[in-house]
Symmetry: C2
């Protein structure tokens, strides 16, 4: 049995969700409510001690880290392969997913978390102190300390936007081969990983990602949105 604990079809939670849907694998849908801090509950921490989301539970065994989860799914369930069989292209795929984890995700997280400042700064100070004290991961706690206070500085936000521009330029240059997907001739886990972040860019920084400055990225986003598995993501949104 597969169980996916996630926050809905956004950011790192989208990564394994889309992989499972692309492969048509049945799974138990374990949606967590981040605004109720369900991922910092003692119950969830039995599965994910540092509160990291998403996690996949496969026959009782926990698999962590969205990029690692997807390679695991693709190796255990090799039907509908999402990794190139050519080993050089498989390495290129990993360079692309690694870039998202190390560079794209932190930049987008800074801007996205800053937008949570109006929500987080309204929480009663004493209540917030208790919430922060329960956070098991030091880096996450530091992020929420910033967000629930005054948010990131103008300088930090400008640097995050600069890095987002690097990401869009990298995608434009990656798509220079003229194919539909990030690797020539094959839809792969690289497209899934980049799609976990890229839709956030035109929303949070429209000047960086539009038809004029990023025509290939914009066309790729359209192609992604018309895939059946991407359309099916809508069924996994948290109820409003």
């Amino acid at each position: 049995m597969l169980e996916l604990y996630h926050f809905g079809p956004v950011a790192n939670s989208l990564t394994p969700l889309l992989c499972l849907l692309e492969k048509g694998l049945p799974f138990q849908n374990r949606l967590l409510n981040s605004r109720l801090w369900e991922h910092h509950s003692p119950e969830f921490q039995k599965l994910s001690p540092d509160g990291t989301v998403p996690i996949l539970v496969h026959d009782g065994k926990v698999v962590r880290e969205s990029t690692v989860i997807n390679e695991y799914i693709d190796s255990v369930f090799p039907e509908v392969p999402l990794r190139p069989s050519d080993l050089w292209f498989r390495a290129e795929m990993r360079v692309l997913t690694k870039f998202v984890d190390e560079y794209f995700c932190p930049a987008l997280t800074t801007i996205g978390a800053h937008q949570a400042t109006p929500f987080a700064s309204k929480i009663d100070k004493q209540e917030m102190a208790q919430i922060l004290a329960r956070m098991p991961n030091e880096e996450v706690r530091r992020k929420w300390e910033t967000v629930s206070d005054s948010g990131y500085s103008e300088e930090q936000l400008a640097d995050a936007r600069r890095r987002l521009q690097v990401c869009v330029r990298r995608m434009e240059s990656q798509l220079e081969h003229g194919g539909e997907w990030l690797l020539p001739g094959q839809y792969s886990l690289a497209d899934i990983k980049w799609y976990s972040m890229m839709p956030g860019v035109p929303r949070l920084a429209p000047e960086l990602c539009n038809e004029e400055v990023a025509p290939r990225t914009t066309a790729w986003l359209q192609r992604m949105k018309s895939r059946a598995a991407v359309e099916a993501l809508e069924g996994y949104r948290p109820p409003r």
Copy 2:
């Protein structure tokens, strides 16, 4: 033919070097002199456009990123396997290598780069401006701007030391299973990746990594140092 371009047996360059030696694979040794900025030369940039080191060239094809290179080597040359055949343990191995790339390496780089300040700040300002202008990677250029000026702030260095302590604690807890290597029962690419960084900690921050506060890590470092392949690394040091 395999060619490895590297800076010697240290940090990310050590990662594929040790992997090749563990597997007993013959390769052309392409040692670059970082103090002469050989990795920013137009010639090297034909192979590695953003100046990233190490790279592996396999029959003319460039493979990038040390962690990706090692998975590539292990899949193309599966004799002397360095990845668990069990897929769940293989995922755990990737969680461990990913942590080094995303968290351990940046923390150690801050402290290590700061120690280059006496060297870098002695370079003539005009010459340094030219060196900086030739750096193809924006993040690397920013690092050297800092290092050649006044170095990192006390606050930045203290935060990097805090993160190094998290790394040592993670290794101590990972080794709780009582086995010799990071994964129970098998020496793997995870040990190789952690060994690319961990020897720097007792050197740069001895209070964080010694027999008293980190007994398992210290014993693991000793076990690593007595491996034949680790001893063989000495033959790949730059001439003094």
